[in-house]
Symmetry: C2
Subunit: 185 residues, 2 copies
């Protein structure tokens, strides 16, 4: 399966919740899939045009001429189901933080500690964000929310893992390396 198809999944998935403009599709993806997916306008508009060409979406009547509200068609729902069913090929991992840390001996004193402190902060911020999202979606026990909760739980697990890892590594760093990040602990 071409990776391009994944953008179609995101767009069709967003439209499966209701008619939207391209602009709103992007916002919807950012709000609901934000911590594990992302699309830029440069992807969304051409994808919407291709999906319309293929009959998977169609313009819906809207009050203003300056915007095009798209709705998913029956063919589009089928297409979404088909795309979702295709096997999932994960692209090779690329983690810039680990790439830098791996060559930590080539870095100036304190730089590895700074990298780890950044990772710690990122994880903390992510956990705060997830807590807010959890608050928003509690009380809803629809099937959709069950899956949404699973993806949220993934983010939480990984963020907690990163947080624990960063703290362990900071604690294990020799004092000489910790100078750049200031006093810690």
């Amino acid at each position: 399966m071409p990776r391009r198809a994944q953008t179609e999944v995101a767009v069709l998935g967003a439209l499966s919740t209701g008619p939207m403009t391209g602009y709103e599709v992007r916002a919807a993806i950012g709000e609901t899939l934000g911590h594990f997916w992302h699309e830029s306008f440069g992807q969304i508009y051409p994808t919407l045009a291709a999906l319309e060409e293929a009959g998977a979406v169609r313009p819906a009547p809207s009050g203003r001429r300056s915007r095009t509200v798209y709705e998913i068609t029956a063919d589009g729902v089928d297409r979404l189901r088909d795309l979702l069913s295709e096997p999932h090929r994960a692209p090779p991992a690329r983690n810039g933080l680990l790439l830098r840390l791996f060559f930590g001996t080539h870095l100036p004193d304190g730089a590895p500690a700074d990298l780890l402190a950044d990772a710690e902060r990122q994880a903390e911020a992510a956990l705060e964000h997830y807590a807010e999202v959890r608050d928003e979606i509690t009380g809803d026990d629809s099937p959709e929310q069950a899956y949404r909760t699973m993806t949220l739980a993934f983010g939480e697990h990984v963020a907690r893992a990163q947080l624990a890892w960063a703290r362990e590594c900071l604690a294990a760093l020799p004092d000489a390396e910790g100078g750049g990040a200031g006093a810690r602990g």
Copy 2:
């Protein structure tokens, strides 16, 4: 900083451990950075050519004419240090597994359970691999190995998190959804 620079980091980092051919650079990256980095030949050879042009690497004498062994120059070491010091911009996340799971209600019965079972297996396999790598590098307390151990620990933490998450989600799935993955537990 252009993302291209990260390939340079990987290549220069590999060469910082000793002279190598492009083929060997790729193998070295795959072996030591494998769980968080990857380069294809289509990236490595042009990058080596560009680095040679820039004076960061140079061909070293080798027995055979059919291969070019590169070694890092003093300029190359400087360049590596400079590249490593540049701020790290993480590209937007894209997790195909979560994208599929999020739209789980559009999937046939059992498909979400299959996705989770796959994730569980992946994490188990990763942990087995990491255990082997740990065995290989224990007993070496050089600074290089300290950083290598940190990147390994990251992989372990994240894999354990994914494993726990997948099992929790599988346990939480209603029975009707578990059929496709067979009896579990």
